[in-house]
Every structure is written in structure tokens, then in C-alpha cells.
Point group: C2
Chain length 248, copies 2
């Protein structure tokens, strides 16, 4: 029998945003490995577990830690904020896992910020949408620019992750400038800070206004499509276009 | 105080895929409204609740049913498979809700098939991705074609919903033909049938092979990006491109 490692999507933070499956995986684990901020969010419930961590940038070492513990016969969970796959650790775990054939990986999905942020704003991602990260840490900026242009031309609604950091203060502005090449400045947009935390804050604005907003790194930004409107204080994208409804 | 209506994303089906927040909303409700297939999935746990439904196509009537019940002073949950927003009922609830100002809506996110299907396949949606539905019931087919072309040119990984139905047997083939205009036929892809049910089945194939596969309407299809590879029996997209890692 192979040693089990769960890669667990924890959702945005609050314990009630975890699925039952995620809680079951954590409960079944002897060791929980993760970035310390996420470990802290778990709170008291799993306080009898062994916790292991590495500094922020050492993701590959964190993966190896999981496999080394599993090879000792322990059941291990690697925790990720949001989903386990979307900008999460599942991919790197499979890469590193090539060297550890005695271990078997199980990916437990979680509520990624596109979904949790959209729920706070209303329903901006009703229809086809794109998820795009502005972080150029591992991706050439030109590729990000191309994706923004393609998403705008395809009339996709968008969820934008990592819109800002200490060294990337003007990236959201640069991104908006690309979008404004295809989309009218009046297009309804929104952003949510600290999703799933005590101080969640949602803001609705136009794309033109968004260009000049400064957001922090704990923010997810939403761009409406051609059908998106503001209803009350909510951002709502229609579930289709005005065509005669066809029989399916 | 306003009457509360929760719009609840139930995830792919199994109760363990619901979040604690979703279970809490259902438990707090007097009435649960939904399409009967989703009501059946809820099983025994909520059997003391009042259940209301409408035939499949009468979504607007189903929304009105929620507001009418809420106006009687009842707490109501509208349930949706997957997420409450993504191809879900949240948008239509806000539209219809313009006529019912005494009611307040709360969107509870859920695990959409892009996330639950990706977890079964491995990690195909690690990086930027698009979600596209092939249903042209409410969207002109030309718009869907344009989105597929833009997603391919942007090197997005993709999750494709509603790839087939009784009257749209050749839509996945048509979609693959568009993608093959930009993507090599060897591109790793995959699809998952009956996600989150007892008979979940995952298949990995190339884009060229996918073109000739027949899939049923309970299938979600995944298209890899330029970095996607098959590791063992899993579909894995890298979390970035081969560039020198920048300090953030």
C-alpha cells in the first residue's frame, strides 16, 4: 500500500469555507505541512497534529518535506490557500513526486478566490470567464499582457489574482491600460480585499476608475463582460446574451 | 429586517464536497428550492425541510418561488450544482430580485466542476485558465467560437462545460477543430465524467484524440496549455514558464 499525501485546498481562510472532504483529509493526517500563515488559519481544531513549515519561497523543499514524512509511514496533508490546484501546490507535488514512487497523491479541491470573491460581489462570473495572475515571478510579463488582450477580445469576465505587490505597484494600472484598448472605461468592475477574513471589503467601480486605484496584495479584482451590470450594490453578469432561446 | 435567501453552491454532488458554510445555510433554511436532481443528492440530512421545485427549464419561476416564500417570512435556500455563480442561479436571482426589495440575497460559493474535475485529473488548471461552456442555448455559437480561439491564442488552460447534449452531439468536435487551428494535436487533454458521483471516470488523451471522442452531458473537458504534461496517469500543468525566477 502506498503512503498517502493529501494536497488540500483550504478556501479563503475561515474554517466554514473548507469542504467536509478537506476537513476529513486533515483529520486523517498525522502531519500537516504548509506556509505558516495558512497553518495559523486552521486554529485550534487541529492543534494535536504535527505541523511542519518552510520559509515562504522554499516551495520545493516544502514538497520534499511531505514525501519524506510520508515515507516514514505517516499520512500527510499539504495545505494550500484557496484551491489545491489553481496557483496551488498540486502541480509541484506531482513534479517532485516523480522521485517518490512509493507515495500516492490525492488532490482535494477548495474554494478559490475567483469563486469566494465573486460571491461577495454578487455574481460577476456567471458566464464564461478567465482567471489571470499578474505575478511575473514565473511567467514572462509579455505572456500576461497577451492573455489580458485575448480575454478582453473574447469578452470573457475575468478574475485577476496577485494584482499588486511591493515591487509591482503599477501592474494593475498596466493591466487596465491593456484592457482599455478593447473595453469601454464605463465597464463595471469590482475588487475584494481580504476575502473570507474578518475585514472583507468589496468595492465596485468602473474599469476607468480601477486603473487609478491602488490595491494591496490580498485583493482579487473582477472585470465584467459586455453584459455585466450593477444591481443595487452588487456586480452581476447575465447568464447569456439576448438571443432567442433555443431548444437544447 | 430583510427576509434572507441563500443561493447555495452544492459542489459536484457528494455531501462531503459541500462547505460548512453551505451546510449552515441549508440548516438555517425553512424551505429549499432547486431542480429535483440536486434535491435528491441532498439525501436524508435535510429531509425535514420543505422542498420546492419547478420543471427543468423554468428557472425564472424557480427564482420567483424563492422570493414568494421569503416574503412569507421563511428563510429560503436556492440550491445550485457546483458553484452558485458559475453558470448558476445567482445572476438570475439578482435580476428577478429587483422586484422584491424586501429580500436580501447571500451567495454561498461551491466547488465548480473546473476545480473538482481538475482534482480528479491531477493539476491541469495550475496556472491561468478559462472556463467556457459549449451550450449555445443563451449564447450565439459565433461568440463561443471566438472565445475558444482567443483562449487558444492566449495559451490558457481550459475547462469546457456542457461539451455535448442530445441535440449538440458534434459541438465538442467543432470546438476541437477550432482549437486545432492554434494548438498541436499532441497537446495533453483530459475529461471527467460524473464528477463527485460514485462512477467518476477520468480519461487522459491528446487534443487530436479528443476531437473524435464522444462524451456525455455529465462530462467536463480539460485542455492543457503549452506546459501541460502527463505524469504517471495524471494531467499536470506547470506553475510557470522557464524563466529566471524574479524576486517579487
Amino acid at each position: 500500500m502506498k503512503n498517502k499525501i493529501f494536497i488540500v485546498g483550504m478556501g479563503p481562510g475561515k474554517e466554514e469555507m473548507l469542504t467536509g472532504e478537506a476537513i476529513g483529509a486533515l483529520e486523517a493526517s498525522d502531519v500537516i505541512v504548509g506556509y505558516h500563515v495558512y497553518l495559523d488559519l486552521l486554529g485550534e481544531r487541529f492543534s494535536e497534529k504535527e505541523f511542519l513549515t518552510t520559509p515562504m519561497r522554499q516551495e520545493e523543499q516544502r514538497c520534499r518535506m511531505c514525501f519524506e514524512e510520508a515515507q516514514k509511514g505517516k499520512t500527510v496533508s499539504m495545505i494550500c490557500s484557496g484551491d489545491a490546484g489553481v496557483y496551488g501546490m498540486a502541480s509541484l507535488m506531482y513534479q517532485v513526486g516523480k522521485e517518490y514512487p512509493a507515495c500516492e497523491l490525492f488532490v482535494i479541491p477548495g474554494i478559490t478566490a475567483a469563486l469566494s470573491g465573486a460571491a461577495v460581489l454578487g455574481a460577476p462570473l456567471t458566464h464564461d470567464f478567465c482567471v489571470i495572475s499578474l505575478s511575473d515571478l514565473l511567467t514572462p510579463w509579455e505572456k500576461i499582457e497577451k492573455r489580458l488582450a485575448m480575454a478582453a477580445q473574447g469578452d470573457f469576465a475575468m478574475a485577476i489574482y496577485n494584482p499588486s505587490s511591493h515591487k509591482r505597484r503599477d501592474y494593475l494600472q498596466k493591466a487596465c491600460d491593456i484592457l482599455l484598448g478593447y473595453i469601454e472605461p464605463e465597464r463595471p468592475c469590482g475588487y475584494v480585499e481580504n476575502i473570507g477574513r474578518q475585514d472583507t471589503k468589496a468595492t465596485i467601480c468602473t474599469l476607468g476608475e480601477l486603473r487609478n486605484r491602488e490595491v494591496n496584495m490580498f485583493t482579487t479584482v473582477f472585470i465584467g463582460n459586455a453584459t455585466t451590470e450593477v444591481i443595487g450594490d452588487k456586480l452581476v453578469t447575465r447568464r447569456g446574451y439576448h438571443i432567442e432561446r433555443k431548444d437544447d
